[in-house]
């Protein structure tokens, strides 16, 4: 096992990529919302729009990439995987952690 600090860092990295955070959506978002928002973000990223390049997390802004958006869309299409992400996203809601 890597050291505890590194385990924690890898763990944060994984959770900060929660699909709802990446897409900027609430855990109640519908499938259609997910698809439309994802498509819009992909187009904005491809056009190089600055406003699409970051997203908000409880630990401060994180950089958004097209790969993350595609992954987030795919994760939320799978009902079982979506459940897990919803659970975490509900936990993140309202959480403010200092960077």
């Amino acid at each position: 096992m890597p050291s505890d600090d590194i385990c924690l860092e890898n763990c944060y990295a994984r959770h900060l990529e929660n699909p709802f955070l990446v897409l900027g959506l609430a855990p109640v978002a519908s499938g259609a919302d997910v698809e439309r928002t994802g498509q819009k973000l992909l187009a904005m990223l491809a056009a190089g729009l600055i406003e699409a390049e970051n997203y908000t997390t409880p630990f401060g802004p994180a950089m958004r990439t097209a790969e993350q958006v595609r992954w987030a869309m795919a994760e939320l299409r799978d009902p079982c995987r979506r459940l897990g992400h919803e659970w975490w996203a509900r936990g993140w809601q309202g959480v403010e952690v200092g960077t």
């Binding site: 439309r36 992909l42 187009a43 729009l49 595609r70 795919a74």
Partner: protein, 815 residues
């Protein structure tokens, strides 16, 4: 124009999608299918397709087909007359080049990009080889798509159906069965399964064996089998005739298998073949294959907790699915719900062309640069194909020096002038607008920009088109990809089903030091593909090597490893060492392994012994599941031995099959072994539950205690269901939670120090480890808990995983 290519084992084809309809591009002989066959004459001149196919029988030493079955291997196929030997991807490139030349004739330009289909069960090395074939054929941009997804797109891209689909794709060499789901017009792959050793060629072979048996009843034939290199030519002739008979039996109840001058019999008389084959007899011959294919279907459904009744439609793909007995059996299994209007022979190429449109991979050569066109430059981003009737269009103006940005922008649909938006332009020159699409057709749009005076401005690019159809989810990864760590664990970077492209970085630590400026001291970062938490049970697909570091790297150095898979599954890897400011990108792509036949023979012998040993243990334990897991293995081993003989006779495909069979047999033995180790694992789980529960209850936070309860439940479920993988995962989670709780015990660090002191001789650098332990002891005595903890953490970095684990995990140098 968008191009899709089905690069098949037996035949290949190319389709073009122009935004409205998909058409097949015929070869110069007017056929939609081009045989995947290459011939090279004595002068080195290459002939492909139908012209080469004719020489398969008469000149097998200089003509090759079915090379897709050995894609990704380093096996060079020899052309005796020319004295050359080519890799499978080089031969595939010749077939692709021939298809592209046909496209050039039909379209008037040489395509620059295309989507090529690959079987769903292809692994990274095979995909890499296919991409290389595309590049060698002259394509500058190639994307891959899994064959079942391509078939499903072809079958359903304009359909209104929702629900589950099953694509039954039986090609020349492989069976791919995929479960797909269309929901809200979006198509996604739920799961897939298959058999790498089941295809139309196996049915040809069984007919060959039958024919040889029939001939032997009448006369004494020379040794006519795959083991004998001298019989290759006669067998090629017979096999081609059998394939033809198989095709005829799909259309008629009886066919004649005819071959003139097959060979001479032992009396020196010419053997002519003239055998009547009834469809019913053929059905009986291929029955084991049909049963095997249905077993794959049942397994896939069961794995996904689905029943045949849940499947709304079945799509048949591949020539062998035209065989009536097979089609009837599969169709009956699904209550006759077969998708109509899908041509099994061209569905893959058609779907691939449609997919090229969804990812915007235009086949046209690049146009003249934007600056050469008059007007303000504009970059428009939109989904070329979408199920969303109101998609977003994003634009960004790129003004040259002195040019002004427009004030507002609108988009006009060119079918009666419906106008969308009148949006202002942002400070960075961009706009985001939603447009409405006419359903199931291509919608053409034009962007209009207006200046502050209300006048239209000239734009360099203003027109685009969006097709309303089925949105296709990005191609999912067929097997998880990760990095093997030195303790034989796998750090999963991309789980199975992750959409491609994908990129992810995780932090690791080196388990040993690396000497500066040495090309020999190499730290390995093995990249593996598979689902097991144990690294050695997965398949090695790449190896990143860290060597030639600028200064000595101590054990425990932080390494940031990034894996990137492009849309086609091409692997890119890098490791950053922040302490040195050095980056390593030296990825060695691993080929599909091939071994010498002598090595394969030894391996079969070893596997036989292992099978005997595990069978003995399985019977002794009385564990029915373990016995059942290995009961088919003697058959598979016998098949491996048969294929080894065929490989010695010059059958390259058989050589590859031996390797794959051995891999599958050993995986089954691993599983059986895991079951036999179940009692120990179960005892460990029981002991851990008791010990860890106490630890977490005493020192854990409420959240940790809650999580621990859930993990305990998972462990209990896994123990009840005797699920080794789930129990190993649950144990791993229990250990992590216990560890987190344990550190809250003020005595924990002292206990840790005692353990390290007692085991210091196991450190990679004993002197340094002892020095650090002394330092930690001093920090404790001086009442400095922060330094005490930090120093102990440093000591751990000198304690590697066991040599055995490191060896098993492909020599991984990281954790």
């Amino acid at each position: 124009m968008f191009i899709g290519i089905d690069l098949g084992t037996s035949n290949s084809s190319l389709a073009v999608f122009d935004g409205d309809s998909v058409v097949m591009v015929p070869s110069s002989l007017g056929e939609n299918l081009t045989p995947s066959v290459v011939r090279m004459d004595a002068r080195g001149a290459i002939v492909t397709g139908r012209k080469a196919f004719r020489f398969l029988e008469s000149d097998p030493g200089n003509t090759w087909g079915e090379f897709k079955r050995i894609m990704g291997t380093g096996e060079r196929l020899p052309f005796a007359a020319a004295g050359q030997a080519l890799l499978p991807e080089e031969l595939s490139a010749k077939v692709l080049a021939s298809l592209l030349a046909d496209a050039h004739d039909a379209l008037g330009f040489m395509p620059r990009a295309a989507v090529i289909s690959t079987p769903a069960l292809f692994e990274l090395p095979q995909n890499h080889a296919t991409l290389r074939a595309g590049k060698l054929a002259g394509l500058s941009d190639v994307a891959l798509i899994q064959e079942p997804i391509a078939s499903a797109i072809a079958a359903g891209w304009r359909a209104e159906h929702e629900g589950l689909w099953l694509v039954f794709d039986l090609g020349g060499g492989t069976l791919d069965v995929s479960l797909l789901e269309t929901q809200d017009g979006r198509l996604r792959v739920v799961d897939h399964s298959g058999d790498n050793f089941l295809g139309g060629k196996d049915m040809d072979n069984v007919l060959v064996d039958w024919a040889v048996g029939e001939l032997r009843r009448e006369r004494t034939l020379p040794k006519l089998d795959r083991e004998n290199p001298a019989s290759r030519r006669a067998l090629c002739k017979l096999k081609a005739a059998c394939e033809q008979t198989k095709i005829e039996l799909s259309r008629q109840a009886c066919a004649t298998l005819s071959v003139s001058e097959l060979c001479d019999d032992e009396s020196g008389n010419v053997v002519n073949v003239d055998l009547a084959v009834a469809r019913a007899d053929f059905a009986q011959l291929i029955e084991p294959f049909v049963a095997r294919s249905l077993a794959v279907v049942r397994d896939l459904l069961a794995r996904n907790q689905r029943h045949a009744d849940d499947v709304a439609r079945v799509v048949f793909v591949g020539g062998p699915t035209l065989i009536p007995s097979l089609r009837e059996r599969v169709s009956a299994f699904f209550g006759g719900r077969v998708a109509e209007g899908v041509d099994p022979m061209t569905a893959v190429a058609r779907g691939a062309a449609l997919y090229a449109a969804t990812i915007g991979l235009s086949a046209r050569p690049a146009r003249a640069s934007v600056s050469a066109q008059s007007g303000l430059a504009l970059r428009i981003e939109f989904p070329p194909v979408t199920a969303d009737a109101e998609p977003f269009v994003v634009g960004r103006f790129l003004p040259a020096h002195g040019e002004r940005l427009p004030e507002r922008v609108r988009i006009r649909r060119q079918d009666g002038g419906v106008v969308f938006g009148d949006a202002p332009i942002s400070a960075e020159g961009s706009f985001v607008l939603q447009v409405a699409l006419l359903r199931h057709q291509q919608n053409h749009f034009q962007v209009q920009a207006v200046d502050s005076a209300g006048k239209d401005m000239a734009l360099a690019t203003s027109r685009f088109a969006i097709v309303h159809g089925v949105s296709v989810a990005d191609p999912p990864l067929s097997r998880s990809v990760g990095v093997a760590c030195a303790d034989d664990s796998t750090q999963v970077y991309f789980a199975k089903g992750t959409p491609l492209p994908a990129r992810r970085t995780f932090v690791h630590q080196t388990v040993r030091g690396v000497a500066a400026h040495s090309e020999d001291d190499v730290l390995a970062v093995p990249v593996v593909q598979g689902e097991s938490v144990r690294a050695h049970r997965n398949r090695l697909v790449g190896m990143l090597q860290i060597r030639g570091v600028k200064q000595d790297l101590p054990a425990g150095t932080r390494i940031e490893v990034t894996l990137q898979l492009d849309r086609s599954g091409q692997l890119h890897t890098r490791a950053d060492v922040p302490a040195l400011g050095q980056t390593f990108e030296d990825i060695a792509h691993v080929l599909v392994p091939t071994a010498s036949l002598d090595t394969a023979e030894k391996e079969i012998h070893k596997t036989n012994q292992r099978t005997d040993e595990i069978r003995r243990r399985a019977f002794q334990s009385g564990m029915a599941a373990a016995v059942s897991a290995i009961e088919e293995l003697p058959v598979a081993l016998a098949e491996a031995e048969r294929n080894l003989s065929a490989a010695r006779g010059g059958d390259v495909d058989a050589s590859q099959k031996v390797h794959r069979l051995l891999l599958e047999i050993n995986t089954a033995l691993d599983d059986a072994e895991a079951m036999l180790e179940w009692p120990d694992l179960d005892r460990e789980a029981h002991a851990c539950s008791l010990y860890y529960t106490q630890m977490v209850a005493q020192w854990g936070t409420p959240a940790e205690q809650q999580l621990f309860d859930q993990v305990l439940q998972s462990a209990a479920d896994a123990r009840r269901g005797r699920n080794v993988v789930d129990l190993e995962r649950a144990l791993q989670a229990m250990r992590s939670l216990c560890k987190a709780s344990y550190w809250r015990n003020p005595q924990s660090l002292l206990g840790e120090m005692d353990w390290l002191s007692a085991h210091v001789t196991e450190a990679t650098d004993v002197a340094r480890a002892q020095q650090l332990i002394d330092k930690a002891r001093l920090a404790h005595q001086q009442g400095d808990p922060i330094a005490f903890k930090a120093t102990l953490a440093e000591v751990w970095q000198h304690f590697p995983s066991s040599r055995e684990d490191q060896h098993k995990s492909f020599g991984s140098g990281i954790r």
